[in-house]
């Protein structure tokens, strides 16, 4: 185990970053978010084909890269840094691990190539530590009725994976209604998925919500780290240039001290995110109970810390940019919105902290 980045990870990062720099700059993202197609599926196909990100977690025998949560975390850092509107988290992390643990094989192959995209029909606000609300029912005749709100990645998914209880169902996107709602996060819009008499077929396997969502939350910490890093470095560059009172704004001590504190928060976010990724990297095979506790603990620590840091850094960045940070034309707001929405995603910081009552043996009052 190491908390550093390996050479392989650094190479992966460089490839992703180069491609995003070319194809997913701030103006491009800003232009997309109000178009009918916020997700950049062209870029997604390129990333999948050229770098293989869609199949990172998929074993080589199913056409994937057989990599681990560590590499996934590096990709998420870069996607966070670019607030890239891509279905990596939803299809290649959440849906893919759900399928892997359900023992599915055929769809996994399709997802690994990036040709097919899936989404887990679960609210993005779902917490690993609470039972999923049961808003969809399966009737005897194997049809599905009900709706799931706040599903991310649904509008670009070919396939939806719907958990009902502990069973996972596979549904074609054309068999459901998907209504995108105006989302606080412009770069990861959410949708309401409505099932009405939708044919369900056999369940494709078992679904362990806590395990999937905890892994998702632990990795999402790396995306928040990427968001925070972009905000920190962009703000640093700005305050070195921007002058007021005939001095760079970044030469004022009050500003310098705030930046030092933010930097220290980000340093710790990186360590926490790496630790979670490293421990989660051992969770691709069969879960064992003892290690599961360590993994959940690491994920909870990283998720709660990194989300709060991302929001704090984004908020401070808006403040330190002054008026320009309040304008639509500056991309900063995309990061603020991403950070704030992701704070709610897969467990709020508070939900993750409260889980430590059990995970770290810090019991609450009776």
């Amino acid at each position: 185990m190491t908390l550093l980045y390996t050479e392989v990870e650094e190479e992966l990062r460089a490839s992703v970053r180069d491609l995003l720099a070319d194809r997913c700059g701030a103006d491009a993202v800003l232009g997309r978010v109000e178009s009918g197609a916020p997700y950049d599926m062209g870029l997604w196909r390129t990333l999948s084909r050229d770098i293989g990100v869609a199949g990172l977690l998929v074993p080589e025998e199913y056409g994937g890269a057989g990599a681990s949560a560590r590499e996934v975390a590096v990709v998420l850092e870069e996607l966070g840094r670019a607030v890239a509107p891509l279905p990596f988290l939803t299809s290649s992390v959440l849906a893919t691990t759900a399928l892997l643990w359900a023992g599915e094989e055929d769809l996994i192959r399709e997802l690994a190539s990036g040709e097919t995209t899936a989404a887990l029909a679960v609210s993005l606000a779902a917490s690993p530590y609470r039972p999923l609300p049961e808003t969809v029912t399966v009737t005897d005749g194997r049809t599905l009725n009900g709706e799931v709100r706040a599903v991310a990645g649904a509008d670009v998914a070919d396939v939806l994976l719907l958990p009902v209880g502990t069973a996972l169902y596979r549904v074609a996107a054309e068999d459901v209604r998907i209504d995108v709602v105006p989302s606080l996060d412009l770069t990861r819009p959410i949708a309401t998925v409505t099932f009405s008499g939708t044919p369900a077929g056999e369940a494709i396997g078992r679904f362990d919500a806590r395990r999937v969502l905890s892994l998702g939350a632990g990795l999402l910490a790396s995306e928040q780290l990427g968001v925070a890093e972009w905000c920190l470095s962009t703000t640093l560059a700005y305050i070195k240039e921007r002058r007021q009172f005939a001095r760079p704004v970044g030469s004022f001590q009050a500003i310098k001290h705030r930046m030092a504190d933010l930097w220290l928060d980000v340093v710790r976010a990186r360590a926490a995110a790496r630790n979670a990724a490293d421990l989660l990297a051992t969770d691709l095979g069969v879960s064992d109970e003892g290690a599961a506790g360590d993994r959940e603990l690491a994920a909870a620590v990283a998720a709660s810390w990194c989300s709060e840091v991302a929001v704090r850094v984004a908020e401070e960045s808006v403040q330190l940019h002054g008026g320009i940070g309040m304008t639509w034309e500056h991309p900063l707001h995309l990061y603020l919105k991403r950070a704030k929405s992701t704070e709610i995603a897969l467990g709020t910081p508070g939900a993750h902290r409260e889980a430590l009552a059990d995970l770290a043996d810090l019991p609450g009052p009776a």
Binding site: P182, M326, E343
Partner: protein, 391 residues
């Protein structure tokens, strides 16, 4: 001898006896101005009676239910332009501007901030060059609310680049209908455009539109800004009101959202809102007891922090509903509404509270230096001609 409370009440009653408030709104307001019941502390003939400022409350109570001003669009005119015109305007300027300003027939906006001059307003670069009886103005202003429906603007421009920055400024009334004035909406992170950029290209202003002496613009602008900061964060709030009220309403009505983490944070913020409210009440008591007190500078700072923290908690506690935004449509908004829209809007809009009208950083400087008497930092820009400042 200045009028006392009883005399003011009688004036108001007498006015109301003579004018039907159910008649033409504008006629009524003009008559009220002419009766000296606009601002009782202004001089007679300029909307006032030369009475004590706090007697305005007496008038407001007497005239309750009669046609009122449109505070949303008249804020800049009433709060900033009027006191400045009163203090620095010539008799002609006061006569010309104050009445339609007060009645709302003429809307005002403010041309101060520039892209390169925010917190450091005195470094602004919009030039005004004298040409006979006129001034020719070129430059760009920003963060101007209401520019597109304003008749006039208060404007600070540089008339002498060869002296240190605070000394080469002059204050004007800018004719927003003059050729060369171009207004473009400026979209914000909320999706809407509450403000504008204003481009000034060869705009010609008569010298009779100058307020105060040439080169005295900084001092004139201070009067405007002082009045702005008194206005912000000065309004009374009831216990559990304001943004705190909106959050607690959600909290009470949706028990399923509650967690211990959220509860503890809410309790903490509620206490902060309550002590901030009490400090505001105490400040108003001091003001009316004639002890101006330095606490005023702190209230804007406190409210900005509080609104940001509360609106952030509000989004988070709603969970799934916090992921939604009400409407991203680009549109112009004529007034700000900090409360009317959804939690996402309030969260984003509150970010501006610590920037507009003096950033929280500038306010902390002001408190540290003017209230606490701490020494200023070494200054590198005080004695350098504006044109030689590093940019």
């Amino acid at each position: 001898m200045a009028l006392d409370e009883k005399a003011v009440r009688e004036r108001a009653a007498a006015f109301l006896a003579g004018y039907d408030p159910a008649g033409d709104r504008l006629e009524f307001l003009r008559a009220r101005f002419d009766a000296g019941l606009a601002w009782v502390h202004f001089p007679e003939g300029l909307g006032g009676l030369g009475a004590a400022r706090e007697l305005q409350n007496v008038v407001e109570r007497e005239l309750e239910g009669t046609p009122q001003l449109d505070l949303g669009t008249q804020t800049i005119g009433l709060g900033m332009a009027a006191p400045t015109i009163l203090t620095f305007g010539t008799d002609e300027q006061r006569k010309r501007f104050l009445r339609p300003l007060w009645t709302g027939e003429e809307i005002w906006c403010q041309l101060f901030s520039e892209p390169g001059a925010g917190s450091d307003l005195a470094t602004l670069g919009t030039r005004a060059v004298r040409d006979g009886d006129e001034w020719v103005v070129d430059g760009q202003k920003v963060w101007t609310s209401g520019a597109h429906h304003s008749r006039w603007a208060i404007l600070v421009a540089r008339t002498d680049p060869d002296v240190p920055k605070h000394r080469g400024l002059t204050y004007f009334v800018c004719d927003m209908h003059a050729p060369g004035v171009e207004v473009r909406p400026l979209r914000q992170i909320t999706g809407e455009a509450e403000f504008n950029e204003v481009f000034l290209t060869g705009v010609r202003l008569g010298d009779d539109l100058r307020l105060g002496e040439v080169g005295d613009g900084w001092r004139v602008a201070q009067t405007t800004l002082m009045n702005e900061r008194v206005a912000i964060g000065g309004a009374p709030v009831r216990r559990g009101g304001g943004v705190a009220g909106l959050v607690t309403e959600t909290w009470r009505s949706r028990p399923e959202l509650r967690t211990h983490d959220l509860h503890q944070r809410l309790l903490r913020l509620w206490v902060e809102a309550e002590v901030t409210r009490l400090a505001g009440t105490r400040l108003r008591e001091q003001l009316s007891a004639g002890q101006p007190g330095p606490e005023g500078s702190g209230m804007k700072l406190a409210f900005a922090d509080l609104n940001q923290a509360l609106s952030g908690l509000d989004v988070e506690l709603r969970g799934e509903d916090g992921l939604v935004y009400d409407d991203w449509t680009f549109r112009r908004s004529d007034t700000v509404d900090f409360f009317g829209r959804g939690p996402g809007y309030r969260y984003l809009r509150a970010k501006g509270n610590s920037i507009e009208g003096g950033t929280s950083e500038i306010l902390r400087n002001i408190i540290a230096e003017r209230v606490l008497g701490l020494p200023s930092e070494p200054r590198v820009d005080k004695d350098v001609p504006w044109k030689d400042l590093p940019r």
